[in-house]
């Protein structure tokens, strides 16, 4: 038999090319940058969110990835430092050429990174609550998954003045940029409701005793104290000062009031009573004592990963982290590609995409995806697996 070597060689070469092309397509991944402050101050939220992010990535990769591509998660620990966050954002966008960026976790870092990611045209899932972080014109590919700070403040204000019928409000905030801005916003919102706070003070987050501030609030006739700070040490000291004074005034404010770390800092467990904070429907137990179905399913998965014990972080952090990856999956699958412009188009036409943390909606002019309807008020002392019972109505 006559062997046609040139043709065989050509076929062999062709086969090699096809096989290598296929394997390179298999090796192609979708890169997601995750700007997380896993160490440094305020790392508790980031660590919990990271659990949700990792869980979602593992699940999606196990089920075949997104559009046939496995997710490659590039986690960068910013340590809560805006300078590091800026460097990592530039590295992820311009060197690693990621398709998406989640985070950073803290608003102070996000203020610095959002313009960089906008310039690079990378879709960014924003998880900072500060109101200035999103803007459909300036940062068209930045979509906020978390609620806004204003939603926290207005929910807490409405509860204090509308439900509890309190009119003599004392506002105590820390001296950070966040605390100062929140105190101002809270005051403005109360002003619109015709209420002038009887006492407003900014306190250094590391102040070792808040008896003086609480005594002044009491002397001013306050019938509700509203703290705006994410510093658990400060909030713990505030509740301790209230308890030690024997003053049973309601404390209504920032979600950090309900963090598990606060419970450990209290002089007595009952000092957590009569403390209420802005929370979420998705992490609030119903009248039947059960969590919403989707939340419970995620609680069960996370509990399994943690070894079966009690979950001692605010569970909405985990749910938010989980949802950020699911939003990316939904956007890419709906767009049928990873093209940033196509992703933007899908996200800005999203209506009621169901996540665990909430149902998200964005529009061409609105980049805040969290609906007011999912806000809730919780009673801090009912902490169980990172979720809460509703505050009394």
């Amino acid at each position: 038999m006559k062997v046609r070597w040139p043709k065989l060689l050509l076929r062999a070469l062709l086969c090699t090319c096809v096989v290598s092309g296929a394997s390179s397509a298999l090796a192609q991944t979708v890169k997601i940058g995750w700007l997380s402050s896993l160490t440094g101050p305020l790392s508790s939220a980031a660590i919990a969110e990271n659990q949700g992010v990792q869980l979602a990535v593992d699940e999606i990769n196990k089920s075949g990835g997104i559009l046939g591509r496995q997710i490659e998660l590039l986690t960068r620990d910013t340590a809560g430092d805006p300078t590091k966050a800026v460097n990592f954002a530039q590295q992820l966008a311009f060197s690693d050429k990621v398709q998406f960026v989640i985070g950073p976790v803290n608003s102070g870092e996000a203020l610095a990174t959002t313009p960089i990611l906008a310039r690079a045209g990378v879709p960014n899932i924003v998880i900072g609550a500060l109101d200035e972080l999103v803007d459909a014109t300036k940062y068209p590919r930045a979509f906020r998954a978390i609620n806004t700070n204003l939603q926290w403040i207005s929910t807490a204000n409405n509860y204090a003045t509308g439900t509890l019928k309190k009119t003599k409000v004392a506002i105590i905030a820390d001296t950070s940029g966040y605390g100062t801005a929140s105190a101002r916003s809270a005051e403005q919102l109360l002003d619109k409701a015709g209420i002038k706070p009887v006492y407003v003070v900014l306190v250094d987050a590391n102040k070792t005793d808040l008896s003086d501030e609480m005594s002044k609030a009491k002397a001013a006739g306050a019938d509700v104290v509203m703290p705006w700070s994410a510093a658990t040490g400060l909030l713990g000291r505030l509740l301790n000062a209230r308890g030690d004074m024997g003053w049973n005034v309601p404390v209504v404010g920032h979600p950090a009031l309900m963090a598990a770390q606060i419970r450990k800092l209290l002089n007595k467990p009952e000092y957590w009573d009569n403390t209420f904070a802005a929370g979420y429907q998705s992490t609030t137990y119903g009248a039947d004592g059960k969590l919403p179905e989707r939340t419970q399913a995620l609680v069960d998965k996370v509990r399994g990963k943690l070894g079966g014990g009690e979950i001692d972080v605010l569970f909405w952090w985990v749910a938010l982290g989980y949802d950020t990856v699911k939003i990316i999956e939904y956007a890419a699958k709906t767009a049928g590609s990873f093209d940033p412009a196509a992703i933007q188009k899908v996200l800005e036409n999203t209506k009621d995409f169901r996540g665990v943390y909430t149902s998200y909606s964005w529009s061409p002019t609105e980049r805040n995806g969290f609906p007011d309807a999912n806000m809730a008020m919780n009673a801090a002392s009912t902490f169980k697996d990172g979720s809460f019972k509703p505050a009394p109505r």
């Binding site: 160490t39 440094g40 101050p41 008896s211 003086d212 005594s215 030690d244």
Partner: protein, 286 residues
């Protein structure tokens, strides 16, 4: 008003205790180590861990906190001071101690966590004691005892006199047969033990918190500069002045001005009396 005075005095006396630790280190090395506040942080964190994590009696917790402080003090001398001083007269120790302080803070943050954790009660007392609460008077009493103890140590013991001799003139001390390296490491171990003790005594006030070190380093230095470098009584006065000023600034004007006023005090003293309230003027004989 009493609470403002007592809480200001309590945190001020913690700054004073840190200033005393600076003094002990400075006496033998002429170094103002950035790790000084971190030693107190370690005392608080390890004290809390011994008592709440390992469930040991507070006396053992106290001994453990002192031991950890002493160990870290010795390590500071070995890792960040000795080689730098042997090789250069420049102030490179600022960088080496800053590096060590940063590493220790990061390591504690990773191990202990970055949120403040509680420090247990040491003495059975109700929480409604107000200004008489142990969290206030423990650091106040300790700083006073430390200052008295150091005076006795310097005046009545051989090692104390060797510290003073090195403080006056290290070269002359060496010429007279004093092992200056050994005395210096001893002074760092002693200062570490005192720093650990200070952090333990103030644990209920500050909580066991990884990021406390740098705040104490800065405020301890301000107390030292105000009171006068090398003076133990000055350290007490400087610490008390700083704590009270901070407390009253916060009481009258709110927390926004607290740090500004603290640094303003430092600037004012440095401009009007650069050697501090009780510091001695450096006169160079010509």
């Amino acid at each position: 008003m009493l609470t403002v005075v007592v809480s200001g005095l309590a945190i001020g006396m913690l700054y004073a205790a840190v200033a005393l630790v600076y003094n002990v280190m400075f006496s033998t090395s002429k170094v103002l180590s950035v790790t000084t506040g971190h030693i107190a942080m370690l005392g608080g964190v390890f004290g809390a861990w011994f008592m709440t994590g390992l469930h040991l009696h507070w006396v053992i917790g106290l001994a453990g906190a002192i031991a950890v402080g002493a160990l870290f003090g010795g390590l500071t001398e070995l890792l960040a001071i000795r080689r730098v001083l042997n090789r250069s007269d420049e102030h490179l120790w600022l960088l080496s101690t800053l590096a060590l302080a940063t590493m220790v803070q990061q390591a504690v943050g990773l191990w202990w966590g970055t949120e403040p954790r509680p420090f247990p009660r040491l003495i059975d007392q109700t929480f409604s004691a107000g200004a008489l609460d142990q969290k206030f008077w423990l650091p106040i009493a300790l700083a006073a005892l430390m200052a008295i103890g150091l005076e006795v140590f310097y005046r009545r013991t051989l090692f104390g006199k060797l510290f003073l001799a090195m403080s006056e003139d290290a070269f002359a001390a060496r010429a007279r047969g004093v092992s200056t390296d050994r005395i210096r490491v001893l002074s760092y171990v002693l200062s570490g033990a005192l720093g650990g003790l200070a952090g333990f005594a103030a644990g209920q006030l500050t909580f066991a918190y990884f990021a406390l070190g740098l705040t104490l380093t800065l405020n301890g230095f301000i107390a030292l500069a105000v009171g006068g470098l090398g003076s133990n009584v000055g350290a007490l006065i400087g610490g008390a002045a700083l704590g009270l000023l901070n407390a009253f600034a916060s009481h009258w004007f709110g927390g926004s001005y607290q740090q500004t006023i603290a640094v303003g005090l430092l600037m004012m003293v440095l401009l009007l009396k650069p050697e501090g309230l009780l510091g001695s003027k450096n006169v160079r004989p010509v």
